[in-house]
């Protein structure tokens, strides 16, 4: 697995988490979305167009761009929300990370399993802090905005580097590369993953998964 991986580190207040993560992930997804493919013949297809929307943040002085797709926005929001609530809950240690993983599926010999191969992973690592006074809060609001600007510039730089992206497949294999479940856009297959148990300690779920995988491999 040679997936490209990018990690962004942030330190911020709990209420800023959702917007900061959303601004990073939506910027990435905007670049990784194409218009919907409409097949007219065997190998002929037309590509739909992607609309975009400006989104103003409430807790950060920042505006980001995302695809105008309600279903995509909902999906991203839900994933981030679950993570953010875990991260901000009382039994959290105030540190965690969420990643957006692009993958492609590979047809397998086994009928019931389909291998997923990630090719690009974007991770946002977060440490929560609490500000004592309003001045600090205002300062951090501006700092995070500057930091996000920096990250968006970095993302666009990476996107234009001509790195590997899966080739456009034939109609029958479209589902192996693209997520065709959205009615208006067609992003590359992606999923979210998160952990809130601190950066180093592996979670119980991951450990169990690993054991099962290893057993199966044997």
């Amino acid at each position: 697995m040679n997936a490209r991986s990018q990690i962004f580190d942030f330190t911020m207040e709990g209420r800023q988490v959702d917007e900061a993560v959303a601004s990073i992930f939506h910027t990435v997804l905007f670049h990784r979305c194409s218009g919907k493919y409409m097949y007219t013949g065997d190998a002929q297809y037309s590509i739909g167009t992607v609309g975009y929307s400006d989104v103003d943040c409430d807790f950060i002085d920042f505006t980001y761009v995302c695809c105008t797709s309600e279903s995509l926005t909902r999906k991203v929001k839900r994933a981030i929300n679950v993570f953010s609530e875990k991260l901000r809950s009382n039994d959290s240690c105030g540190s965690g990370q969420i990643s957006l993983e692009f993958f492609q599926k590979k047809k397998n010999r086994w009928l019931f399993t389909q291998e997923s191969i990630p090719w690009e992973v974007w991770t946002v690592h977060l440490d929560l802090i609490k500000h004592e006074n309003e001045d600090d809060r205002q300062l951090s609001r501006e700092n995070i905005s500057d930091l996000l600007t920096e990250k968006v510039i970095y993302i666009t730089e990476l996107m234009n580097r001509h790195d590997y992206v899966p080739k456009t497949p034939s109609q029958s294999e479209l589902d192996l590369i693209f997520d065709t479940s959205f009615p208006d856009i067609q992003p590359y297959l992606f999923k979210f993953d998160y952990s809130t148990s601190g950066s180093t300690a592996p979670s119980m779920g991951n450990a169990v998964k690993k054991i099962i995988k290893e057993t199966l491999a044997m």
Binding site: G35, G48, T49, G51, D56, F62, T63, T68, T149, D163
Partner: protein, 548 residues
């Protein structure tokens, strides 16, 4: 590969580059309109270039075409680089160039080295274009280039929201400053961006025709002082003399958010030649610095409309008697204490109107300018535009000052209904001096359909007597000098002193009565057979208070 086929691919590529240039200008200028943009997806496949819905603004399209000045059959390749310059101009006439977005094409020969470097850095990439590949311009490769341009345009869309000019453009309004654009064909003039400006390369795309490079240079130092502004204006003027380029700069709509912090700041700013004639503030603000980088930002969830903007006048303490707020003059305090909020209320619709007017007038005038000044040089176009802006901006700039100077009474005049006002105006002077027990209560107890002699009036009288505690003498003494200026002062003072005398008499009479019947009380106490303990003492005193 035949030369013909290569030629066809080149033609196709040239078309891509041309439309990339057009879309670049559209995206940049539209992002500076000061409003949020939303375009809808079209899954059925639209005619939008690069599969991104970017609606073309006709003015911007015209400007880009004019800047490129492409004759029929002429290639765009010789005309690049294309630059879109975004600048800011305040109502005082200070100018500042904020950023320059550019689309350039490096010829094939000169980009060999960079292309080679690219490939080294991206070893093993499937879609990477190296020199040998660029020579084979197949339809597949054209498709790849098309997709790359699409990504480049998406990056441009994302990046336009992150530079400082975006935040400024969202807060623009005709009373404080406006954002302007200029499309020109030349090397980007980055020297106008001040010290420590930043340069960001958005993307580079190697093709058979050369290397398409999209980049932006933007200012990071956003503080302007009037002198710096003049210098910038001077340099800008020089630059204009050197390059005969039309300057087009207007059709931005004013910020829809009428209560943005910058605008509030602007309400205290004296406009150039403002008809309101706020001479005092005008003189004081000559050396004021405008720090646009760090405007006072309200926190989340604050109602911007209710925010108070402090001006120099707030630092001058009003000459009022101490503890005046303790006086029970509710109506007055409502009138004068909240001038600000009233102004806001009165102002906002007025401002909105002005905004609209400006919008239309600027739009109108700009169109005229363009039509008239097709072939004029820069400076004339610039000037004529300036005139039209100042003319349009003058009334709107004057209005906030005017409204800030509105006296309390006229502010209320606007705010309240006429009938109520007449009543208030006549009563306002006398209200000050009257003991504070009357009018509101009387009004409450004017029962409908009840004759003046009815029993209900007795009830009203009784209620009035019980409702208020006897007025403090001190308050009356304070009120008397405060109202001495009015014509009715003497009479009312006499009235109030009479009233207080009366109440004093009552009190002394009662006291006398108690003193004379002191023996009776003593008897009563002794009847209970109790010694004069502290408890009974307190009881009797309690009784006294009760009777009082």
């Amino acid at each position: 590969m035949s030369a013909q086929r290569l030629n066809a691919a080149e033609k196709e590529l040239e078309k891509y580059i041309k439309f990339l240039a057009f879309k670049t200008a559209q995206v940049v200028v539209q992002s500076r309109l000061g409003e949020k943009i939303q375009t809808q997806c079209n899954p059925l496949g639209g005619n939008d270039w690069f599969n991104i819905v970017v609606q073309d603004h006709p003015d911007v399209l015209d400007e880009t075409k004019r800047a490129l000045a492409l004759k029929q059959g002429e290639s765009i390749l010789q005309r690049l680089p294309l630059c879109v310059e975004i600048s800011l101009r305040t109502t005082e006439g200070d100018k500042m160039i904020l950023e320059v977005w550019s689309l350039d094409l490096l010829p094939v020969d000169s980009n060999k080295a960079t292309a080679g470097e690219d490939c080294k850095g991206e070893g093993g990439n499937i879609n990477a274009f190296n020199d040998s590949q660029t020579l084979k311009a197949s339809s597949h490769q054209l498709h790849v280039i098309y997709n790359r341009m699409s990504i480049m345009l998406k990056s441009l869309i994302s990046l336009t929201r992150t530079t400082p000019a975006y935040k400024l453009s969202r807060r623009q309004c005709p009373d404080s400053y406006g954002i302007y654009y200029r499309v020109y064909v030349d090397r980007p003039q980055v020297h106008t961006l001040g010290e420590r400006h930043k340069q960001v390369k958005i993307g580079q795309l190697n093709t058979i025709l050369g290397s398409v490079i999209m980049s932006v240079a933007y200012r990071t130092k956003l503080t302007i002082s009037p002198t710096a502004g003049h210098q910038a204006a001077a340099t800008a003027h020089q630059a204009q003399q050197h390059n005969a380029i039309m300057l087009k700069s207007d059709h931005f709509r004013p910020a829809s958010d009428a209560s943005s912090p910058i605008q509030q700041m602007s309400t205290v700013k004296p406009a150039a030649g403002g008809a309101g004639g706020a001479a005092g503030t005008g003189a004081a603000s000559d050396k004021r610095f405008i720090d646009i980088e760090k405007p006072l930002r309200p926190g989340a969830f604050t109602d911007l409309g209710k925010l108070r903007q402090f001006t120099e006048t707030d630092f001058v303490l009003p000459e009022t008697p101490p503890f005046e707020w303790m006086l029970r003059t509710r109506h007055e305090s409502n009138g004068s204490g909240s001038i600000e909020s009233l102004n806001r209320k009165c102002e906002s619709p007025v401002l909105n109107n002005n905004n609209n007017n400006n919008n239309y007038s600027i739009n109108g005038s700009s169109c005229n300018n363009i039509n008239q000044n097709h072939n004029n040089n820069n400076s004339t176009a610039f000037k004529s535009f300036e005139k039209s802006t100042t003319a349009a901006a003058a009334p709107s700039a004057a209005s906030p000052i005017k409204s800030l100077l509105i006296p309390a009474s006229s502010a209320t005049l606007r705010y309240k209904s006429a009938s109520m006002l007449q009543e208030q105006a006549s009563a306002s002077s006398s209200q000050l001096q009257q003991p504070p027990d009357d009018d509101s209560l009387l009004k409450e107890l004017h029962f409908p359909f009840a004759s003046p002699t009815s029993q209900v009036n007795d009830l009203a009288k009784f209620y009035r007597e019980c409702y208020y505690a006897p007025p403090l003498l001190g308050l009356n003494e304070l009120q008397a000098p405060a109202t001495s200026c009015s014509a009715t002062a003497a009479a009312s003072a006499a009235l109030s002193s009479n009233a207080t005398d009366g109440s004093m008499d009552d009190l002394s009479r009662q006291l006398e009565q108690f003193e004379t019947s002191l023996e009776d009380y003593d008897k009563l106490v002794s009847q209970f057979g109790l010694s004069a303990s502290s408890s009974t003492g307190s009881r009797s005193s309690g009784g006294l208070q009760m009777s009082n």
